[in-house]
């Protein structure tokens, strides 16, 4: 290709004076795939999505879940999603911003959902993740605890778990921990 390089080098010298570059946004393959995921979202009516940084910044967004059944009926839970440029090779990073009394979500907002970590596959998408999160509220699971206290109560005394959840969602203490109102 050296002959080609030679020609190009000469052209470059000619074009050297040309400037006034426009800033070009480089769209990664991850952004394009995310664009596809988002444009095909089909969320249950209990979940909604918003884009705090406007319509052109899809890599960071928020999902709100308002369960319509189960222990968490009536609560409002906000999640942030952070998507990397090599999505879907890497799962989105999800955090729960609402402090919640839940066996699978800790008080820092870490979420224990298998498809977000060990079982993530590139064929999964944002829709699957949102459904997975919604599922955590309809079927909290004491076997994968991230909040061991809540998990133990759910396992041993579901009635008490239910009343703890109601108390936390209404804004109040469960044990030593204060939860803000999220109903």
């Amino acid at each position: 290709m050296i002959r080609l390089f030679k020609v190009k080098e000469k052209q470059r010298e000619l074009a050297e004076s040309a400037n006034g570059k426009a800033p070009i946004k480089k769209q990664s393959a991850g952004e394009l795939r995310l664009h596809k995921d988002i444009s095909e979202l089909n969320l249950p009516k209990t979940c909604s999505i918003s884009f705090p940084n406007g319509k052109d910044e899809l890599m960071n967004f928020e999902v709100t879940i308002r369960p319509d059944e189960g222990y968490y009926l009536g609560g409002l839970f906000l999640f942030t999603f952070q998507v990397s440029p090599i999505y879907p090779h890497e799962a989105p990073k999800v955090k729960c911003l609402t402090k919640v009394y839940h066996p699978n979500i800790d008080l820092e907002g870490n979420v224990c959902l298998n498809i977000l970590r060990e079982d993530w596959k590139p064929v999964l998408n944002i829709n699957t993740v949102v459904y997975g999160l919604y599922h955590l509220f309809t079927e909290p699971n004491h076997e994968d605890p991230l909040n061991p206290d809540a998990a133990a109560v759910l396992r041993d005394n579901p009635k008490m778990f239910e009343s703890n959840v109601r108390r936390a969602m209404a804004g109040g203490y469960v044990g030593q921990t204060y939860f803000s109102r999220c109903i």
Partner: protein, 471 residues
């Protein structure tokens, strides 16, 4: 006289490749002293990364007859680099890798000029990358490779707006020259070859990417194994290994204690904190084996680097670079793996291009009038024989022109539907857009994401250039 003799002897081995004909040479190989001189004068090579591979690459390329080299790296030298990044000395710790590496090689190899760039690869204008003949990668992350690959493949298509690149003194013929020929093959002069090296312990790979001709990085990204990620609940409840304890400190304990402060893996204090927390946790569960270097390894995903693996992989990369530039031999087709764990195993595999690759594929060519609205464009996609795409969402260089879902974005982009696509694309005569939607083939519906090359009819690159300032 003595000087020129020295030159001859230094390039003696190179001369065997460049001055003589052979039966394995590439197409258009023209052996002779002119080739050697042209290589020095006209070939410019960018080395991305000045770490373990980068140091080797700079040395190898400089000794292979390349004179115009540049190197880009955002890191500073750390003590732990010194065992294998042989261009660095103890006194260099804390200095930018790119700058020291460039200086050291220039001191040792007469005549070579290396320009260092101490910055992130994303900080450079795209044009920066277009100025090199070949880009050689000595990187350690998928993200960085994916970025450079996207940039290099971007030069194939008309991603660089023509009105910016081509100025008045260029002829109309040059301005209007398409980047693809009629068979959707890219024109040779828009191809930016890449040579990608990678090492991990005793294993390594070398890969030649000729965008539009051989598979690009994105064509085969699915071949990378997923990173090992432990379930959070295992970390929180039932740690079994030292790595579990470290990840607990890193992912759970850090946030509990430092609410809001992000963990910085390059900050030694942060790392020390994670290490001591991991030790506490390991003691609690009676798990042995937590060390500071394992902590670094787990948190930063590091596998101990082996100097000789870097040297072997770099040598193969430099040779491929020389082959691409000079055609002195056919290039690797197209992926070499090296494994030195037990004995030595090496193999070349020919990866296959994804013809619909969003990054290196040509995309579907569509010519249309400047008055076509976005709504009309979307309905054109339904009838286009190569697309048959219904309910399309459209994005152009990071700007979402129309989104079918979710309702919040549909609402925000709906007003674009009745505007001309040409206006929405900032009146460039041609550019790439991406569309997603549903395709139906014999009653089977599938979602699809496609790349399109839009060319507006009747927009002359030159007139557009002349009116660009007033738009």
């Amino acid at each position: 006289m003595a000087d020129s003799m020295a030159q001859v002897s230094r390039s003696r081995d190179l001369d065997k490749l460049l001055l003589r004909h052979g039966h394995l040479v590439g197409p258009n190989f023209e052996p002779g002293p002119d080739l050697r001189d042209d290589l020095r004068e006209y070939a410019s090579v960018l080395v991305v990364g000045a770490g373990g591979l980068g140091c080797e690459l700079l040395k190898d390329l400089a000794l292979s007859g390349f004179r115009n080299l540049e190197v880009i790296d955002m890191d500073r030298i750390e003590v732990s680099n010194l065992n294998r990044q042989f261009l660095f000395r103890l006194g260099d710790v804390g200095k930018p890798k790119a700058e020291v590496a460039a200086k050291r090689v220039m001191e040792r190899v007469a005549g070579v000029n290396i320009v260092p760039h101490f910055c992130r690869i994303e900080d450079k204008e795209l044009d920066f990358y277009n100025d090199f003949s070949i880009i050689v990668l000595g990187l350690d992350s998928i993200e960085a490779r994916s970025y450079i690959n996207t940039v290099a493949c971007g030069f194939l298509g008309p991603l660089i707006p023509h009105r910016v690149r081509l100025k008045r003194h260029m002829t109309t013929w040059q301005a209007l020259r398409p980047k693809y020929n009629s068979d959707d093959n890219p024109r040779e002069e828009t191809i930016k070859p890449m040579v990608d090296g990678g090492t991990e312990g005793f294993k390594g790979h070398v890969r030649v990417i000729v965008p539009g001709v051989t598979p690009c990085f994105e064509c085969t990204i699915w071949l990378f194994p997923p990173q090992v990620k432990f379930p959070l609940c295992t970390l929180a409840e039932t740690p079994r290994t030292a790595a579990h304890c470290i990840e607990y400190a890193h992912l759970i304990k850090w946030d509990e204690v430092h609410s809001g402060k992000t963990f910085d893996p390059d900050n030694p204090e942060h790392m020390q904190w994670v290490y001591s927390e991991a030790v506490k946790r390991a003691e609690l569960f009676g798990i042995p084996g937590v060390t500071y270097s394992l902590t670094q390894g787990v948190v930063k995903n590091i596998i101990p680097a082996i100097a000789s693996t870097n040297a072997i992989i770099s040598a193969a990369c430099a040779l491929e670079t020389l082959k691409i530039a000079s055609a002195c031999s056919k290039t690797l087709s197209n992926y070499l793996t090296y494994n030195g764990v037990e004995g030595l195993h090496t193999k070349v595999t020919e990866f296959v291009k994804d013809k619909d690759c969003l990054v290196c594929g040509p995309g579907v060519l569509m010519e249309m009038a400047t008055l076509v609205t976005l709504r009309e464009f979307i309905s054109l996609l339904e009838d286009h024989p190569k697309l048959l795409l219904s309910r399309a969402s459209v994005t152009h260089r990071g700007k979402n022109l129309y989104m079918q879902a979710p309702p919040v974005l549909e609402e925000m982009t709906r007003s674009n539907l009745d505007l001309p696509l040409f206006d929405l694309m900032d009146k460039v005569p041609k550019d790439v857009v991406h569309v997603t939607g549903t395709t139906s083939k014999s009653d089977k519906k599938a979602s699809s994401l496609r790349k399109l090359r839009i060319v507006f009819k009747g927009v002359d690159g030159v007139t557009d250039m002349d009116t660009a300032g007033g738009a």
